[in-house]
């Protein structure tokens, strides 16, 4: 009988369609990777360390140049002020095959080392967790009054980085993670990066203008004050990385 | 004594000309008719008469006075001022200002204004130059023995002085009808007599009609005519005394 079969089909479609509408964790991860693609950008930021009692350190200023494509992401950071960090270089590269390398003015460097005496870490800025194969949805939350979807990213067992799990609260349509929590192999919270203010890129997607990076009760405030979305990365910008050993998982 | 004209069922005036005030079937009910403050009063007052409304406490004396002065609206009945019905008057405030002067038992002077300013209050917003009213106020106060109290506040005056200031205020707009509600109720006998003398003089000088509510026999004895009330009705068993 055709009528009953049709009604069953309609019922099934009504149940199936809403389920199909919600993206999976893998799809959200792909969206986040895509949102970060750029042939070249330059930004200048100021970072201030905040002590638990509210004391503010002398601000540091640094410039960052980056290139993120489908297979590789790399950054070079240069200290601007104060004089102690002026022209101090840190370069870091991450490939989607899991290999990475980092260098500073003296040779190989640790991509997980804090930058310029702050709690900012170069590895975090590359967001490699979006390439991990183990992505899962973990509900929803609100950050600074904005709704976001929780995505849990777990490192593969063969991966060796100190960060084993990342919980991101993302606004996928805006292409931004409003809060990123990084955990070690024991499940302890290592860093909490929360977006305070955003700015709109020419694509319409959002980028963080001001973030706080919290490590236990200490925080660093990082604010971008200048930038160029269409930066023409000069040849040799990432020269410091050439010849450096790559660590692959 | 003048006898009531009981056959006519109302209290007439003493002359045959148009009465200054007339009421027919005047009634004021509250609580859907359960409380009858006044219940079918017919009354006439002639020009220049001094009429005292008398009766026990709560019989409706002040209610009748308020209705005459258009401070309240009756439930039924009609009021006429020189044959003009109140219900046809567009603006009762204008009517009060032009034709009625009020004197109250508790004076009702504005405590924050001096005597002169209190007397001038009824003229605020009225037509006519302010200077004219001021002159008239000063004359009245001089006449009433308050020329040296112009800037005094009511709290610094004696009872008699306050009532005289209130009388001056009542007369500032040269009314035709003076309504006085127990004007001597808050005064001692000497001041009361003084106030009554004043009212009589003013009445003679200006041809004023006075309707006064009182429960004091001494006061009512000064009236041309009494209007006795009992339980909201005319007390037809009472005698009218002069």
């Amino acid at each position: 009988m055709k009528m009953p079969r049709l009604s069953v089909l309609i019922m099934l479609a009504a149940i199936a369609l809403p389920a199909a509408a919600a993206p999976t964790a893998a799809e959200l991860a792909a969206k986040m990777r895509e949102a970060r693609l750029t042939p070249g950008f330059e930004a200048r930021f100021q970072a201030v360390n905040l002590a638990p009692d509210g004391q503010r350190s002398t601000p540091i200023k640094a410039a960052v140049v980056g290139q993120f494509d489908a297979t590789r992401r790399r950054l070079v950071l240069r200290g601007i002020a104060p004089e102690a960090i002026r022209d101090e270089i840190r370069a870091v590269e991450y490939r989607v095959d899991g290999c990475s390398r980092a260098a500073d003015g003296n040779g190989p460097a640790d991509p997980f080392a804090p930058l310029f005496g702050t709690r900012l870490v170069a590895w975090d800025m590359l967001a490699p967790w979006w390439d991990w194969s183990r992505q899962s949805l973990a509900g929803a939350d609100r950050v600074a009054g904005r709704e976001c979807v929780l995505v849990r990213s777990r490192a593969d067992d063969r991966d060796t980085p100190p960060i084993r799990e990342v919980l991101s609260c993302i606004d996928a349509d805006a292409g931004i993670s409003l809060r990123t929590q990084l955990f070690d192999s024991h499940g302890a919270l290592v860093r909490d990066i929360t977006v305070v203010t955003t700015m709109r890129k020419e694509s319409g997607l959002l980028a963080a203008r001001k973030v706080t990076v919290a490590v236990s009760d200490k925080r660093t405030e990082v604010e971008t004050y200048s930038g160029d979305e269409h930066y023409e990365v000069p040849v040799g910008a990432f020269a410091k990385l050439e010849g450096q050993a790559t660590t692959c998982r | 004594m003048t006898q009531l004209n009981l056959e006519q069922g109302c209290l007439p005036g003493t002359s045959g000309s148009t009465p200054i005030f007339r009421a027919e079937g005047l009634a004021l009910h509250f609580d859907d008719g359960r409380t009858r403050a006044l219940d079918g009063i017919d009354i006439e007052v002639d020009e220049g008469e001094f009429v005292a409304i008398v009766g026990a406490s709560g019989c409706g004396k002040s209610t009748l006075l308020n209705l005459i002065g258009a401070l309240d609206t009756p439930t039924t009945g009609e009021r006429y001022f020189r044959d003009r019905p109140y219900s046809a008057m567009k603006d009762l405030a204008d009517f009060r200002r032009q034709h009625i002067g009020f004197v109250f038992q508790s004076f009702h002077l504005i405590p924050t204004l001096g005597v002169l300013d209190n007397v001038l209050v009824p003229t605020i917003g009225a037509q006519g130059p302010a200077a004219g009213y001021r002159e008239r106020a000063l004359e009245l106060l001089e006449r009433l023995g308050l020329a040296d109290r112009l800037r005094h506040f009511p709290a610094t005056l004696s009872g008699g002085e306050r009532q005289r200031a209130a009388i001056a205020r009542a007369l500032i707009n040269a009314p035709d009808l003076l309504l006085a509600d127990e004007p001597t109720g808050s005064l001692d006998s000497a001041n009361a007599a003084q106030v009554l003398d004043l009212l009589s003089e003013v009445r003679r000088e200006r041809g004023l009609t006075i309707i006064m509510v009182t429960h004091d026999a001494g006061v009512s004895s000064r009236a041309d005519r009494l209007v006795p009330l009992r339980d909201g009705k005319l007390d037809q068993s009472a005698e009218v005394a002069r």
């Binding site: 200290g79 601007i80 002020a81 020419e202 004050y225 160029d228 | 309240d72 009060r96 917003g125 707009n173």
Partner: protein, 375 residues
């Protein structure tokens, strides 16, 4: 005694209440005046800067939601624009907000094409101008010099580069007086934006008409997708900071008005309730109901007029103080059109009348006989 005198007398009987109400209104008016003056001044100052430079049109990227339009390569567009009719000159400009001293707030740093018309309106008060496009030197505005306590020969550190101050200038535009100026080449080098600008300034022939301007704008829309040509007034009007400032001042005015109405409503309602017997006396003595309304609304209007006048004075004074704060010096150039200053007390009076209207109506509807019986 007139109605006005009676109203004034009544306000004086409750001096504390009248003063507090007037002060509350004054605070609201002051906030609205200060914000509006600052927003208006900011807009005017930006406009003045462009007008002072002699720029007729500004070409920049579309949809600039940041305070400064995002940078772009100057040369291709510059050459293209120079070929348009009635275009006399096209000059690039780079603007950034950078901190140049640890003790001072961030300042505007402008990079102007050396030897361009942009420099002509400035007046040198000390030192000299950059000798050529490559000279790594700065000239500073008079307000900057005062703020940073710098003079000719001192050094400034900008984005890690130490550059000597070779001149101090004065401009008719307040924004420029609080800025640091260098050649475009030096600004591009300092901010790592080689060959880039965020604004192209177009100077037209003096004979160019509005029709010519519109034609150029239309042509740019078609031939340079992603870019827009606007007059300085339009740019300022689109500027997010200006729009936000104006929106904030409008919102403040609206909120202050609503709060003012509520405050006056409360004050006059209390006053009317306390004066029930007095109002009954007035009605019994022959006052029109409309006269009672005029009295109550008049009292409300007098209160708010006093608050409005005081608020204008406080608002202007407050803004003057803000202008002279180190943090804001050179960034605020408040503008108070006379019509606006006159309008605020009138608006305050209107607020008073609105707030006093219901209490006035309530007072006028009192039954005199009932009112006289109140204590």
């Amino acid at each position: 005694m007139t109605l006005f005198e009676f109203a004034l007398h009544n306000l004086r009987q409750r001096p504390a209440r009248s003063l507090l109400t007037a002060m509350a209104v004054a605070l609201g008016v002051a906030a609205a005046v200060a914000l509006t003056g600052i927003a208006s001044g900011f807009e005017a100052s930006w406009q003045k800067a462009n007008d002072a430079r002699g720029t007729d049109l500004i070409v920049t990227r579309l949809a600039s939601t940041n305070a400064m339009p995002s940078p772009f390569r100057a040369e291709p567009l510059q050459n293209q624009l120079r070929g348009y009719p009635k275009v006399r000159d096209v000059v690039g400009l780079l603007s950034e907000m950078l901190s140049v001293d640890a003790s001072a707030p961030p300042l505007f740093v402008f990079g102007w094409t050396h030897d361009s018309y942009l420099w002509q309106h400035l007046k040198l008060v000390a030192g000299r101008w950059p000798a050529n496009a490559d000279e790594p030197v700065v000239v500073i505005g008079v307000v900057t010099a005062e703020l940073l306590h710098k003079k000719v020969g001192d050094m400034l550190e900008i984005e890690g580069r130490r550059m000597p101050v070779v001149g101090v200038f004065e401009s008719s535009a307040a924004i420029e007086n609080g800025a640091v100026l260098m050649t475009l080449d030096q600004a591009q080098q300092t901010t790592d934006k080689p060959g880039k600008v965020n604004v192209l300034n177009v100077k037209l022939d003096p004979a160019a008409t509005t029709t010519d301007v519109d034609a150029i704008k239309a042509r740019i829309r078609v031939e340079m997708p992603g870019f827009i040509a606007i007059t300085s007034g339009e740019l300022v009007g689109q500027n997010t900071v200006v729009r936000i400032a104006k929106a904030m001042s409008n919102a403040t005015t609206l909120i202050a008005s609503l709060v003012g109405i509520l405050i006056v409503f409360n004050t006059m309602l209390m006053s009317v309730n306390e004066r029930t017997r007095e109002i009954g006396i007035l009605l019994a003595l022959g006052w029109h109901r409309r006269t009672v309304i005029q009295l109550v609304c008049g009292e409300a209007a007098l209160l708010t007029l006093a608050g409005g006048i005081a608020g204008v004075l406080v608002g202007v004074g407050l803004t003057w103080q803000l202008e002279h704060l180190d943090l804001l010096r050179g960034k605020i150039d408040a503008n108070f059109p006379l019509s606006f200053l006159l309008m605020m007390p009138i608006l305050a009076m209107l607020v008073g009348v609105c707030g006093g209207l219901y209490p006035a109506m309530k007072a006028s509807r009192l039954a005199p006989s009932h009112a006289l019986r109140q204590e």
